[in-house]
C-alpha cells in the first residue's frame, strides 16, 4: 500500500510539473535549441513481481542505481537505453550458507517526449533483457553439504514507462520516471516448491540526473 501511494504521489507531481512547464513555455514564447544526446545516472526503487523470490530473499523492494542514455531521433522521439543491477542475499535453509542473487537488467526502448520548456513529459515503451544468477557461497564442516548448484539464465520481456524531464540548465536536467516491466520465464527445473514460473519484471520508480549535450 505504501509503495502504491508513492506512485500515485509521484504521478501527481509529474502531471502538476508538466502543466506548470507548459504554461511557462507559453508565457516565454521563445524557441529553444534542443540538445540531441542525454546521459545520466538514476536511483530507483525496484519492486519484483515474483513473490517466491521476494519472500525467499526477504525484500519486497530494493533500491538500486542505474545508468541510462538516449538520443533524439526525429519527431520528438528518443531512442533510450538503461542498465541496472538488482542484487539480493539470503541464507540457505539448513546450513545458513550465503545465497547471492543477481539480476542484470538492460532496457531498450523509445520515448516520446514533449518539449514545453521547463518540463518535458514523456512516455515510452521497449524491451527488457535480463540475466539472472544464484550462487551459494560457503562450506560446512560436513563433506558434501555445500553443493547446491548455482543457477544462471536469461529472460526477455517488455516495459512501458512515463515521466518528465525537468530542465535545470541548458546542459543539466532532472528526470522523474515510473516504469512497469513484464519479464516472465518458464523454468525447466521447478523450484523446490514445485513452481515453474519466474516473474522477474516489476515496478520501478525513481529519478535521474541527466546531462544534455
Amino acid at each position: 500500500m505504501k509503495s502504491t501511494g508513492s506512485i500515485y504521489l509521484l504521478t501527481f507531481f509529474l502531471i502538476l510539473g508538466s502543466a506548470m512547464a507548459a504554461s511557462a513555455q507559453a508565457a516565454d514564447g521563445e524557441e529553444q535549441v534542443q540538445p540531441r544526446f542525454r546521459a545520466g545516472f538514476f536511483w530507483e526503487g525496484y519492486q519484483l513481481n515474483d513473490k517466491n523470490l521476494t519472500n525467499f530473499y526477504g525484500h519486497y523492494q530494493k533500491n538500486l542505481p542505474g545508468f541510462e542514455a538516449s538520443v533524439h531521433t526525429a519527431y520528438n522521439i528518443d531512442a533510450w537505453a538503461a542498465y541496472r543491477v538488482y542484487t539480493d542475499e539470503a541464507k540457505t535453509t539448513y546450513y545458513g550458507l550465503v545465497d547471492k542473487f543477481r539480476l542484470n537488467m538492460v532496457s531498450l526502448g523509445a520515448l516520446y517526449r514533449i518539449s514545453t520548456g521547463l518540463l518535458e513529459p514523456f512516455i515510452g515503451a521497449g524491451f527488457e533483457f535480463y540475466r539472472y544468477s544464484e550462487k551459494i557461497e560457503g562450506q560446512t564442516d560436513i563433506p558434501g553439504t555445500s553443493d547446491i548448484p548455482g543457477t544462471s539464465d536469461s529472460a526477455v520481456g517488455f516495459h512501458i514507462q512515463f515521466g518528465t524531464y525537468v530542465n535545470i540548465t541548458k546542459f543539466l536536467a532532472g528526470k522523474f520516471f515510473v516504469r512497469v516491466s513484464e519479464v516472465n520465464k518458464t523454468l525447466t527445473n521447478p523450484l523446490p516448491d514445485d513452481t515453474t514460473k519466474l516473474e522477474l519484471g516489476g515496478k520501478e520508480f525513481g529519478f535521474s540526473l541527466v546531462v544534455r549535450f
Binding site: T93, Y94, F101, E134, T145, P149, T151
Partner: protein, 580 residues
C-alpha cells in the same frame, strides 16, 4: 534194600529243596539267570486288618524304579486297600485307599503304570461304575473317582496307558438286554475321564473286554460276544473278537477280527479273553472255555503280516470244574508272552509262549495252595503275580517269578537348557517308554537365540525328536543375540537455495544397553533403510559405520519420500543383529 533207601533219600532231598523254595517268605531277588527253570522266589505279606474272610481280587504293578503296589479288596468287601513296597524296602501296612466311594462288593482290579511312574488303578463291582484312582511314590493317592457312566456294569475291567500317559479303561455296560464294551479315556493332566466311547455298538451281547496298547499307541481290544445274528435260538454261539483302534480311538479295521467261534447246544460261559502286545507289536490273545476240551487257548495275530495264527492250547490238563476254575491273566514281557492260569486243583502256574514251537511252556508253579483270584504284571526282571488264597481268603500273596530282564521298559530323558532359554518340555528328567520318541523344542528367551543341541543328540533345528533307545541327556544351547541400536530418530531436513535444494535425513541413535550388559564388542553398525510403505523384505543396507558413530546423514533421499531406518549391530565374529 539199599537201592530203596537211596531212592527215598533222593526223593526226600528233592521234596525238601522244593519246599524250602516255596515257603521262603519276604524273599528278595536271588541270582539272576538268563532263563528261569528253578522254583520261583516268593515273597508274601498277609493282611492283618481283618480275618473275617473275603476274596481279595488283587491287582499288582511295578514302576520303572522297582517300586511295587498291590491293591486288593478290603476287609468289608466294599472298598479297596493297598500295600506299597519301595524297591529294597519292606511292605507298608495295608491301608484303605482314601476318598473312595463305596462299591458294596468290589471286584476285579487292574493296574497300569505311566511314564512318570504313576500307578493307575481300576476296580469295579457288578452293577456299578468302576472306580479309578492313581498312586505315585512320594505323592500318595489322587483322583479317586467313579468313571462317568452310570448303569449296570458287568464283570471284568482293564486299564492301560498310552505313551502320552493317556489313561485308557474298558468296561462292560449293560442296558436292557444289550451289552457293550465302553472305552474311557483320560489324557495326561486331565482330572476327569472324558465321555466314554462305545466300542461295540454294532455287536450285541459284548462283554468281558480287555485291552492292550502297542508301540504306536493303537489299542487292541478283545471281548466275547453272543453271535449277533444267530438264526437258531436253540444254539448258543459265542464269539471272541479282536478289534484294533488307532491312537485317536478310531477303528483301524471296519470289522473286528473274529478269532474264535464256539457253538454249543448248551450254555457256554467264562471265556475271560485277554490280550497283550509284545515289543514287536505282535498281539497275543488267550481265553478259557468251559465245555468240550476244557482248556486255556491262545491265538497270535501278527499285524505286520496280518496273519492270524492257529489256536494253541495251553494243555494244563483241566478237568471239568466249577466255572471259577477258569481264570487267566496274560502279559507281555519284552517280546515274550506270559500266561498265568490255575489248574483243576486251583494251583496257579505261569507259562511262557515259545514262538518257535508255538507251545506254551510251564515256567513256574506260582502258588503252593489253591488260588481264588490273581493278577499278572510284567516287571523289570520278574513276572509279578498277586493272588489270594482260596482256603484262607484273608491272605494276599505276591509271587515274583524271575525272568529274563527286560530292556528297561522306560528310559530317562534329561533335558537341560543353557543360559538364555528353556525347552518344551521344561528342563528336567523325564521317564518315557523305551523306544518312544520325544520331541523337544528349544525356546530362547529374549535376547538370546537357539544355536544347537548337545549331549546325546546334535542338530541346530529348533525342534528335535529324540528316540529313547537308551537313557539320554539333551541340552539346548543358546547364545546372546547381538541387539540393534535403540532410539533411532530421524529428522527430515532440506538445504535450500532459491532455485535448487537437496533433501537429507539426519539419523541419530543410541547403543543398546543389552549389548553393553552382555559385554558384547560391537565391530560395526549397519544402517538399513526402506520406504515406510515397503515390506520388511525391502530393507536395504545403505552404509556401514564405525561402532562409535551415533549419527549419520542420509543425503540420498528423494523429495517427499518417507523413509524408516534401523541400525543393526555387528559383533566381532561378524554376526549381525536383527534390526526390525
Amino acid at each position: 534194600m539199599r537201592r530203596a533207601v537211596l531212592l527215598l533219600t533222593l526223593m526226600a532231598v528233592v521234596v525238601i529243596a522244593a519246599g524250602m523254595a516255596i515257603s521262603a517268605s519276604s524273599g528278595t531277588a536271588g541270582t539272576t539267570s538268563s532263563q528261569v527253570v528253578q522254583a520261583p522266589l516268593i515273597e508274601t505279606f498277609k493282611l492283618t486288618a481283618d480275618a473275617s474272610g473275603n476274596w481279595r481280587h488283587p491287582g499288582v504293578a511295578e514302576d520303572s524304579k522297582g517300586n511295587r503296589l498291590v491293591i486288593f479288596r478290603g476287609p468289608s468287601g466294599d472298598r479297596y486297600w493297598y500295600a506299597y513296597c519301595k524297591k529294597g524296602g519292606s511292605w507298608s501296612s495295608p491301608a484303605l485307599i482314601p476318598n473312595q466311594p463305596s462299591l458294596t462288593n468290589s471286584l476285579y482290579a487292574d493296574i497300569a503304570v505311566d511314564s512318570t511312574d504313576r500307578f493307575h488303578c481300576l476296580w469295579e463291582k457288578t452293577n456299578e461304575a468302576p472306580v479309578y484312582g492313581s498312586f505315585r511314590d512320594g505323592e500318595g493317592w489322587s483322583g479317586v473317582q467313579k468313571l462317568p457312566l452310570t448303569g449296570r456294569y458287568d464283570l471284568v475291567d482293564a486299564i492301560a496307558v498310552r505313551s502320552t500317559d493317556e489313561v485308557l479303561a474298558v468296561d462292560t455296560r449293560v442296558i436292557g438286554s444289550s451289552k457293550d464294551i465302553w472305552l474311557h479315556t483320560k489324557k495326561k493332566d486331565q482330572a476327569q475321564f472324558s465321555a466314554p466311547k462305545n466300542l461295540t455298538n454294532d455287536w450285541e451281547g459284548s462283554t468281558q473286554g480287555w485291552l492292550a496298547v502297542d508301540s504306536k499307541d493303537h489299542i487292541w481290544v478283545v471281548h466275547k460276544s453272543d453271535y449277533p445274528y444267530n438264526p437258531d435260538p436253540t444254539q448258543d454261539i459265542l464269539v471272541i473278537y479282536l478289534s484294533h483302534w488307532d491312537q485317536n480311538n478310531n477303528p483301524v479295521t471296519i470289522d473286528p477280527v473274529e478269532i474264535w467261534q464256539f457253538v454249543s447246544e448248551t450254555w457256554g460261559w467264562s471265556f475271560l479273553p485277554q490280550v497283550a502286545v509284545n515289543s514287536e507289536d505282535k498281539v497275543m490273545t488267550a481265553w478259557a472255555f468251559a465245555l468240550g476240551a476244557n482248556d486255556y487257548v491262545s491265538r497270535l495275530y501278527n499285524p505286520s503280516t496280518k496273519t492270524l495264527g492257529p489256536i494253541i492250547p495251553v494243555n494244563i490238563g483241566l478237568t471239568r470244574n466249577p466255572w471259577h476254575t477258569f481264570y487267566l491273566r496274560l502279559a507281555a514281557h519284552g517280546k515274550d508272552f506270559y500266561l498265568a492260569v490255575i489248574d483243576s486243583a486251583r494251583i496257579l502256574y505261569l507259562y511262557r509262549f515259545d514262538e518257535m514251537t508255538s507251545k506254551w511252556i510251564r515256567v513256574a508253579q506260582v502258588s503252593d495252595r489253591s488260588v481264588e483270584q490273581f493278577d499278572l504284571y510284567s516287571g523289570y526282571d520278574r513276572m509279578l503275580v498277586a493272588w489270594s488264597s482260596w482256603e484262607d481268603p484273608t491272605d494276599v500273596y505276591l509271587t515274583a517269578v524271575e525272568v529274563n530282564p527286560l530292556i528297561p521298559p522306560t528310559k530317562h530323558l534329561t533335558i537341560q537348557a543353557g543360559s538364555g532359554g528353556t525347552t518344551d518340555p521344561a528342563p528336567g528328567t523325564y521317564t518315557h517308554r523305551t523306544g518312544s520318541s520325544v520331541t523337544i523344542t528349544a525356546i530362547p528367551n529374549f535376547p538370546f537365540e537357539f544355536t544347537s543341541w548337545s549331549g546325546d543328540v546334535t542338530g541346530s533345528t529348533t525342534s528335535i525328536t529324540v528316540i529313547l533307545d537308551a537313557d539320554k541327556t539333551v541340552k539346548a544351547n543358546f547364545r546372546y543375540l547381538i541387539q540393534p541400536a535403540v532410539n533411532v530418530t530421524v529428522q527430515k531436513k532440506v538445504e535450500r537455495g532459491f532455485f535448487n535444494a537437496y533433501y537429507f535425513n539426519i539419523l541419530s541413535w543410541e547403543s543398546n544397553p543389552l549389548n553393553t550388559a552382555q559385554g558384547v564388542t560391537i565391530a560395526a553398525q549397519r544402517i538399513y533403510r526402506k520406504l515406510r510403505t515397503e515390506a520388511n523384505t525391502q530393507w536395504t543396507r545403505i552404509v556401514e559405520v564405525s561402532p562409535t558413530t551415533m549419527t549419520y546423514i542420509d543425503r540420498n533421499v528423494a523429495k517427499y519420500s518417507d523413509y524408516v531406518y534401523a541400525v543393526a549391530c555387528v559383533d566381532a565374529s561378524g554376526i549381525e543383529s536383527p534390526f526390525y
